[in-house]
Amino acid sequence: MKELFINSYCHIKNNRIFVDGKLLYSDKVADSLSLFAKSGYRYIKPSYNKFFKMDEISKLGFLAAEVLLSGVNLTVYNEEDIAVILSNSHSTLVTDLNHQLTIDDYNNFFPSPSLFVYTLPNIMIGEISIRHKLRGENAFFIVENFKADIITNHINSLYLAHKANAFVGGWVNQSENDYEAFLYWVSNEGNILHNAFEINKLYNLIY
């Protein structure tokens, strides 16, 4: 079997978007993920109204995938063979707290289905899959800090078992006071070998 490579990656961090380690966009004014997601959207211009219904972490994952996949020709792959394997440490904590605010007090009780649905981390995988028509394998792992090995291991296992041949992998996290996205594209093409050592190196490229 041909080896797997990474040929593209994207970081979103501290109000900046990087593609393959190069700065693509920076917003010096935004002081929250909510504002930065808006300005990032205006810059990328995906013309995708569903974006505005998403919670903040899904917006973050969506924008990272948008940038990452803009340089990938997805049509050469079968949609059933493209997997999305993501991870983070806080699941959907910020959205969970927002939902909790709507139910804490029975005198002010207003839970909303459009908010509640986002209290699952893999909804972001769903949003990315809908946008790019990806119908392959999914998994969302929760780890304390970014660690390439669990995802790399999972991607390699799927590949060796012929369950998928192209992958969006990475980390999309939002805590109460910070956020960060790092996504990469894995396939038979590229010049960075797909292994945990290289991925940890790419992750640490931007800080």
Binding site: N122, G136, F141, L158, A161
Partner: protein, 384 residues
């Protein structure tokens, strides 16, 4: 080969696989009307764990481990479940060749409420921390792998465990999972109008939504076979995404169809070998309709299908595990359980929903799961 070595279910119907299974054989349903402001301002049906019994059973284990720390309800459920499944084997929990995978959707989400009697550190709400707690309790040397992928989490975790054994990364993998009935989840599903006012009725003409349940479950997969009982192996599994909608299934069952197709391919079996299907069967109008379409598209419309959710409700991150455990027990006993709550077929593609519990030799089975985010999973398990 990947063998199912041991298992457990902690639920309203019992603390152990057999206790749960034979309650179901006798037609007992664990879903009861709950009237408790802690969860919801109005009465709602759900399957709840007997907390007094949980505390008692947990204390016995904590004493064995000389552990005096405080644990949350969910942690206790998972620890009791893992301990029971482990006690039925000679698997060495302290070995680096033994891994633990944890499946949960919301973990200790009840800790976000300000109405808890006991307080825990804020970190305790994070799912990786739940993994650490379980690892520390049992003294396993490996970081617990935590999977949180909505309602397919359990089936996905079993699939991942099998991959770990097939690739010889581990000899034994303990797959455990659990979720609670909380105000967080009850209010959320209520706002979706997807909770039935009565115990749920999967695939029924009058089905009107799901029932929630809390449970923990464990299956232990191993490269070593059982010496003393029927061996059942994991044949293959897959997941797939609908790429259609985040909170509703594909009308044509696309993701489910792909997951089953790939699982069958992975298993190297013919579809006609499947002699029983354990569906996801939440009893929401859309889910059950979608599953029937997916089953029909695979020409499996005559295969006996059941849903366990009529007994224990939808147990979220535990569902894929406990429903697989029940399926394993059906295979060992050659008993097919009826779909509790089902009376009259209410789907557009007729499939064979089991309406009375009966004996039948079954050898190769399909487990289905679907969830929010367009996620779908399928597992094939088989006797050897």
């Amino acid at each position: 080969m990947v063998y199912f070595r041991s298992d457990n279910i902690i639920s309203s119907l019992g603390f152990g696989t057999e206790e749960n299974f034979f309650s179901m054989v006798s037609g007992e349903v664990g879903i009861k009307t709950i009237v408790d402001q802690k969860y919801y301002p109005k009465a709602f049906p759900a399957s709840m764990i007997d907390e007094e019994r949980l505390n008692k059973e947990f204390q016995i284990i904590a004493d064995q481990y000389s552990n005096n720390n405080s644990y949350t309800k969910l942690e206790k459920m998972i620890i009791v479940s893992v301990n029971d499944a482990l006690s039925l084997t000679d698997i060495e929990i302290h070995s680096s060749r033994t891994a633990i995978i944890l499946s949960t959707t919301k973990g200790n989400i009840n800790l976000v409420s300000n109405e808890n009697e006991e307080t825990f550190e804020p970190e305790r709400i994070l799912l990786w921390k739940l993994g650490d707690i379980i690892q520390d309790f049992f003294g396993n040397p490996n970081k617990v792998i935590v999977v949180s992928n909505a309602c397919i989490s359990g089936a996905l975790a079993i699939n991942i465990a099998a991959m770990y054994i097939e690739s010889e990364q581990f000899d034994n993998v303990i797959v455990t999972g659990g979720d609670l009935v909380t105000r967080f989840v009850v209010s959320g599903f209520m706002s979706f109008m997807s909770l039935s006012p009565t115990a749920c009725k999967p695939f029924d003409k009058n089905r009107d939504g799901l029932s929630l349940g809390e449970a923990a479950g464990t299956v232990i997969l191993s490269k070593h076979k059982n010496m003393h009982r029927q061996n059942i192996i994991f044949k293959g599994g897959a997941t797939a995404n609908d790429a259609n909608h985040i909170s509703g299934p594909s009308r044509k069952g696309d993701g489910s169809y792909i997951a089953i197709k790939k699982a069958i391919f992975q298993s190297n079996i013919k579809p006609e070998q499947i002699d029983h299907i354990s569906s996801h069967g939440t009893a929401t109008p859309y889910n059950d309709e979608m599953e029937s379409i997916s089953i029909d598209r695979h020409h499996l419309e005559s295969v006996p299908v059941n849903s366990i959710k009529g007994y224990l409700g939808h147990t979220l991150g535990a569902a894929g595990i406990i429903e697989t455990v029940i399926l394993l027990e059906e295979m060992r006993q050659n008993i097919l359980l009826k779909t509790a709550g089902f009376e009259e077929l209410g789907i557009s593609h007729p499939i064979n929903i089991i309406n009375h519990t009966f004996n039948m030799e079954i050898n190769t089975c399909l487990k289905m799961a679907s969830g929010f985010g367009g996620s779908n999973a399928a597992l094939i398990i088989s006797k050897v």
